[in-house]
């Protein structure tokens, strides 16, 4: 039963073309380890170095978004480098394209702003994304921001198709947010 159970779980992930998936608390330390694994796995598949760089870049920004903006955070110490933020992240390959998908809870109150920002980003073409990135880089960050908008723009610029995203209401306080990028 135990083996069958976990095999079913594994098969389900494989059916979704997953190279690897992680669910639980994400941290900067884990980002570093998993990032190295992403690079290695892509290199084993003889992926073009340009694509490896793009997937890696999207992966870093996606995981850092979860670490910074997940509504389920634990502070191991008061140093923000040590914080643990709950989320799910997966890297996979569909046909010939890699994808990076992440999910985390966000505060109900913060969801509309994030949604508006993403709607704006998906409406932009490449030159517009580049221009907007330049502009954001020169602006003073909004209060409490750790540069999330620039991170989203970076993901959009490295992606080969418009970003996919969805918000789902969990309860009065929180929504579940998912972002998927094809590279």
């Amino acid at each position: 039963m135990l083996a069958q159970d976990i095999l079913t779980f594994r098969n389900e992930l494989q059916k979704r073309n997953t190279l690897f998936a992680y669910s639980g608390y994400l941290s900067e330390a884990l980002l570093f380890s998993l990032g190295g694994t992403v690079k290695q796995q892509l290199e084993i598949k003889n992926t073009e170095s340009k694509t490896v760089r793009r997937v890696f870049s999207v992966f870093v920004e996606q995981v850092q978004n979860v670490i910074r903006y997940s509504d389920e955070k634990e502070w191991h110490t008061d140093d923000k480098r040590d914080r643990q933020s709950a989320g799910v992240i997966a890297v996979g390959i569909e046909d010939t394209r890699f994808f990076v998908i992440c999910g985390n809870t966000v505060k109900q109150s913060e969801a509309p702003k994030l949604e508006a920002r993403l709607n704006e980003i998906v409406s932009m073409d490449e030159p517009e994304l580049r221009q907007h990135y330049k502009q954001k880089l020169r602006e003073e960050p909004e209060e409490q921001s750790e540069g999330g908008t620039i991170g989203l723009l970076e993901i959009a610029r490295r992606a080969s198709a418009p970003l996919q995203f969805e918000f789902m209401t969990l309860d009065e306080e929180r929504q579940f947010f998912v972002l998927k990028a094809y590279i």
Partner: protein
């Protein structure tokens, strides 16, 4: 003058930073996605700012050799470049060399975009880096 030399060793996720105030040379090389970009770059920018505020100081040559940097680092690099351009506007001679791998179009684009902010300082795109 206080000793403002910087010698920060490279790690797998943060660049080597070396700054010699006597010769006015600054080099940043490696990868940059530190756990906390403002914590990493804050003291570097502060040192540089203090040193640049002396208008009679020597000319400045900056060599950036980054293979990868994340968006938080991009912000810090932008701040550093703004500081260098301001020093050039105030009369300092400033040269920034942006070294990148010729195959890396993302790094080339970033260099081109950064170059737009330099008027008084000299900014050179150098596709001579091998990753």
């Amino acid at each position: 003058m206080e000793n403002t030399a910087l010698n920060i060793d490279q790690t797998p996720r943060s660049p080597k930073v070396s700054f010699d105030p006597a010769t006015g040379t600054l080099e940043v090389s490696g990868e940059s996605y530190p756990e906390d970009a403002s914590l990493f770059y804050g003291p570097i920018l502060k040192t540089l700012k203090g040193w640049l505020s002396d208008e009679d100081g020597p000319s400045v040559t900056v060599d950036i050799r980054l293979i990868y940097f994340n968006s938080s680092s991009a912000k810090a690099i932008m701040n550093m470049f703004q500081m260098l351009e301001e020093a050039a506007e105030d009369g300092r001679s400033v040269t920034v060399n942006w070294h990148y791998d010729a195959d890396d179009d993302a790094m080339e684009e970033m260099g081109e975009d950064f170059s737009e902010d330099f008027e008084s300082a000299t900014f050179n795109l150098k596709p001579d880096l091998t990753a």
